[in-house]
Symmetry: C2
Subunit: 141 residues, 2 copies
DNA sequence: ATTTAATGATACCTTTAGGGGTTATTTAAA
DNA sequence: TTTAAATAACCCCTAAAGGTATCATTAAAT
C-alpha cells in the first residue's frame, strides 16, 4: 500500500530538479542532496532519461536536466514511468474477472478512493509543486 | 501502488468467508472458490488463524471459521495483519525527515487521499460488505 | 484401534525489487 | 593530445515476497 522505492526516488528526483529546471544536475550533486544510494541513483537517472523525462548530457560538464517544461510533466507521468499504475477497473479483492458492471459495495467505495488518487497524480504538475512553498529543501538534512 | 498479493488474498478470503460466517470452510473449499494457489492458501489460512482473524479446527470435519462477529472486523484489521501498516505521516516524497509541521503542497493533497483511504479501510467491516449486494459470487468463474 | 480427512510446521525453491561493481564511452579543459 | 569529469552499459549480489513440497499432528468415523 505504497509506492515502490523506485517510484518514490523518481518523484524525489524530479521534484528536486524542478526547483531549478534550467540547471544541469550531476549525479553527484543529486546524491549529495537526496537520500538515494549512489549506484541506484545513477541507474535511475539513466532510466528516467530513456523514458524521456530527463535529458542527459555526457562528458565533462555533463549532467541531467528536466526534459520538458514543468507544467507538461505530471506526477502520474513519473509514477507511470517507474511503476505499474493501478488499473482503472481493478477489483478491490483482486479478482481478475470481477465485472465492473456488477456493483459491490467495495467497488463504489474503493473506486472513489482510487479515482481521487489518480486525479491528484494526473492534475498535479511539477510546476504546481513549486507554486506554493514546498518543504523539499527543509526536508533534507 | 497496490496491496501486496498476501493482503489481496487476505481480503479475498475474509470477504468470501463472511458470506456465511457460521459455516466451517475447508482449505479445499476455499481453493475451489477463490483464485489462490493451494499451498499458499494453506499457509495464509494458518497465518490468519494465528493472527486471531480465523479460528481453525483440526481433524476430520475440521476447517476454518471467522473468529469474531463480522461487524468487529474492519478491512484495516485485515490489511494490518497481512502487511506493514500505513504510516500516518509518511512524506509523499519519502523523505524520512520531512517535517509535517512544514507544509508543502503535496503534504496537504496527499494527506487527504491517504486519510480517505484509511478512513474507508477503518470504517468498513465485513458486515458492511454484505449489507448491499456484493458481486463476490459473480466474480468467480 | 485404524483409517481418513482435515490442519500444523518446516524447509525449500523461484522471482523480483533494490542495490553494488567494473569497465567503456563521451567531451570540455589543460 | 592528453587528462579529467562526467554518463552508459553490463553483469552480479542480496533480501524479501510469493509459491511449492513434505511430513507431522489432530480427531471424527468406521
Amino acid at each position: 500500500m505504497n509506492f515502490t522505492k523506485t517510484t518514490e526516488y523518481g518523484l524525489r528526483i524530479m521534484s528536486y530538479m524542478s526547483l531549478d529546471n534550467s540547471k544541469l544536475y550531476t549525479a553527484n550533486d543529486l546524491f549529495n542532496n537526496l537520500q538515494i544510494p549512489f549506484r541506484y541513483l545513477r541507474k535511475q537517472l539513466n532510466f528516467l532519461s530513456k523514458q524521456g523525462l530527463l535529458v542527459s548530457i555526457q562528458g565533462k560538464q555533463g549532467g541531467y536536466q528536466i526534459a520538458k517544461p514543468l507544467h507538461e510533466i505530471t506526477l502520474l507521468n513519473i509514477v507511470e514511468a517507474t511503476d505499474e499504475v493501478i488499473p482503472e477497473n481493478k477489483c478491490f479483492f483482486g479478482f481478475h474477472d470481477c465485472p465492473l458492471t456488477e456493483k459491490c459495495s467495495m467497488h463504489d467505495k474503493w473506486g472513489d478512493v482510487r479515482d481521487a488518487t489518480l486525479e491528484i497524480l494526473r492534475t498535479t504538475t511539477l510546476f504546481d509543486l513549486n507554486k506554493e512553498k514546498c518543504s523539499i529543501n527543509l526536508s533534507l538534512k
